[in-house]
Symmetry: C2
Subunit: 397 residues, 2 copies
């Protein structure tokens, strides 16, 4: 059985558990996860029986890439009738069929069109089903995340040789991105969240990193202009300021996420202390990274440690712009489940891959911290990030 | 009056014309267009009176970037009450208020939450209003697109010096992207279409360029893997094959889009002929680029010319994977209005910026064509792309 069939079967079990008759999968990443192909169209998964991938473009390519049944979508107006013909057990049962789709990403306009061609269907939000299944990574997925972890490490180590006083954030980031692209980085990291976007992360030095932003993460970044108000900008890197290097890439679909703190010269005592606290929080988190730990408890533990260090005002952003999490799942997207935040009651399970990112923001001097990505195993964790820890100090040139 | 106020006033006129009471703007690009800031939140524009930008993150940054009234969004649960208080003329009139939002991009889940806190509001799709206003570019926007056009030209000319037999598509693309990033490219080009994504375009050589893909464009590209099945891939560039170089970038929010055909050595007679036909279609299109021309007529004219050249089977893709347009508006997004396609009855107007991209696909040998971006002026057009035309021939090294 292919891994795609296994995933579809898991989704069918969720449908059964929730008395749903089928799932119409619409988003490119979800379709790729469930079929092995990212061509556009709709994947229909009935609660029982075989799924069909109705493809708009490219049918030829979907057939080459996927072992699913692939059919040409044809006229969208007839899609309702097509489904009725192909899945009589769903659409001609006694009750009106109840289907799920991804309410978290599907735009209203497309949903309205779908509703208009299937007037007798009731719709439920099935986003969480797919997100929960995607939380647990297969060995194949883990091996891809490891490749991305290696690429980021290689890119950082190579680029450190080009870091010098007077280079701008975006100039140094360009070096890192050039290396990542040559190693197969797709060019961007996919995000599920509405209005969120990410290329490779950020390099931001000093107060530029502490500049708040819309981005749903603990550090901001001045960015290039109000039209791209996050991440690396034109700020010139000086000596003795913390350089936050929050990097990721996407190789063969899978992302990695890690952060290191770099400095040309020396950091102040306050920042060294805060950095050490971030490493202590990471180490403390590691002792809890095993099956059974409740996700939100990792966040509470980190907050407690930040409070004990009297650094809670600086933890994960500053003031009104603090974010309320310690980390997040990664995989095909950078903002996967589980989130290490209040309200996330999931127990850690083997196969989960999470980025843990304790960071401290000082509006007057910058951001320091560390972030590593971990795989939860049967009896603990495996660290997937391979970059050396500690503040990375470069001698002034 | 700031350009943002002018844009809001245009939207208010659309609201008035359509008997709507207000617009809740939700998408990052639309919010930026109307406020000058891309922070997250909701911009409420009443049909009459001043707009308010309710910001989730970062309030501080929105206040710095925008001249709008900025308020902290606060608890989303109270947002309905906040709007009632701030806009009594909208929410306490005799009839139930009818508001618009962007149905083309807003996910169902967020829309449902909005509906639940404003139970007495009726909602209309207002996507088209914003897209129509955004069709007409201001002098400020045009100057930014020109900067992007210069950057792409510079990146291409620089990278041509590194093009040689044996380099892979993605290796050569990395050179181009490195140059673009150093010139201020944001790192990706924004797209409005669901499931569409774009970094900088594509470099694809020979049959790799002809490989069909989900991407809503005339050429495909093998891409790096099924997880990124478009654009540049690991294919090695050989001599005497057409290299399609479809490039864009996003600087200070604004994108450019252009294509050139490059070859190391010589192209076959069939491909030279097809390339010349693409230039002829471009020249013929130029004679029609003036106020008053109907958008779809540009497409019909191009199809007629492709038919006369007996190349219509190869025009804008091949076989089942042909796309049915000749070009598209560009600006803050790469897929703006107007589209040069059947059904688009808009007349060309001064201030429109459109990319025109006649291309021919040969599954056995590749894709050739040209694409330039044009500004419609009072009496014709101004070409914004500045790259030399003709097939760019590199001597075999």
């Amino acid at each position: 059985m292919s891994q795609y069939t296994t995933r579809q079967n898991k989704l069918q079990q969720k449908l059964k558990d929730n008395q749903l008759d089928g799932f119409l999968v619409t988003q490119n990443v979800d379709i790729f996860y469930l079929t092995g192909s990212m061509q556009t169209g709709y994947l229909f998964i009935p609660v029982k029986g075989e799924a069909v991938f109705y493809v708009r473009r490219s049918v030829q390519r979907a057939q080459e890439e996927s072992s699913c049944i692939v059919k040409a979508l044809g006229s969208f107006r007839n899609f309702g009738e097509t489904l009725k013909t192909d899945f009589p057990q769903v659409f001609e049962s006694k009750h009106e069929p109840i289907l799920a789709t991804e309410f978290d990403v599907l735009p209203i306009q497309i949903f309205n069109r779908i509703q208009s061609i299937m007037p007798h269907v009731k719709w439920n939000d099935g986003s969480v089903f797919i997100r929960e299944i995607r939380m647990i990574k297969s060995p194949d997925e883990i091996s891809k995340i490891k490749i991305a972890a290696n690429a980021v490490n290689q890119a950082l180590e190579t680029a450190l040789g080009k870091l010098k006083v007077g280079i701008s954030e975006v100039e140094w980031m360009s070096e890192i991105e050039y290396s990542l692209r040559l190693q197969g980085h797709v060019g961007l990291m996919r995000m599920r969240g509405f209005n969120q976007e990410l290329v490779t992360g950020m390099v931001a030095a000093g107060i530029s990193a502490a500049k708040p932003t819309y981005f749903d993460g603990p550090a901001g970044g001045e960015g290039l202009s109000p039209a791209s108000p996050q991440g690396s900008g034109k700020n010139i890197i000086e000596k003795n300021v913390p350089i936050l290097v929050d990097l990721g890439c996407c190789i063969d679909g899978y992302v990695i996420d890690q952060t290191r703190t770099v400095v040309i010269g020396e950091l102040s005592e306050e920042l060294v202390n805060a950095y050490q606290t971030s490493e202590q929080i990471l180490k403390s988190t590691e002792t809890l990274l095993k099956p059974g730990t409740i996700c939100e408890d990792l966040y509470f533990n980190a907050v407690r440690l930040a409070e004990e260090a009297k650094l809670h005002e600086h933890f994960m952003g500053y003031g009104a712009d603090q974010v309320k999490f310690l980390g997040h799942g990664i995989g095909l997207e950078i903002d996967e489940y589980p989130v290490l935040a209040k309200g996330f009651k999931y127990e850690l399970q083997p196969g989960m891959v999470i980025a843990v990112e304790p960071k401290f923001t000082f509006p007057e001097s910058g951001v320091v911290g560390i972030e590593d990505t971990y795989l939860i195993t049967e009896d603990g964790f495996e660290k997937l990030s391979i970059t050396r820890d500690g503040v990375i100090r470069i001698r002034e040139n």
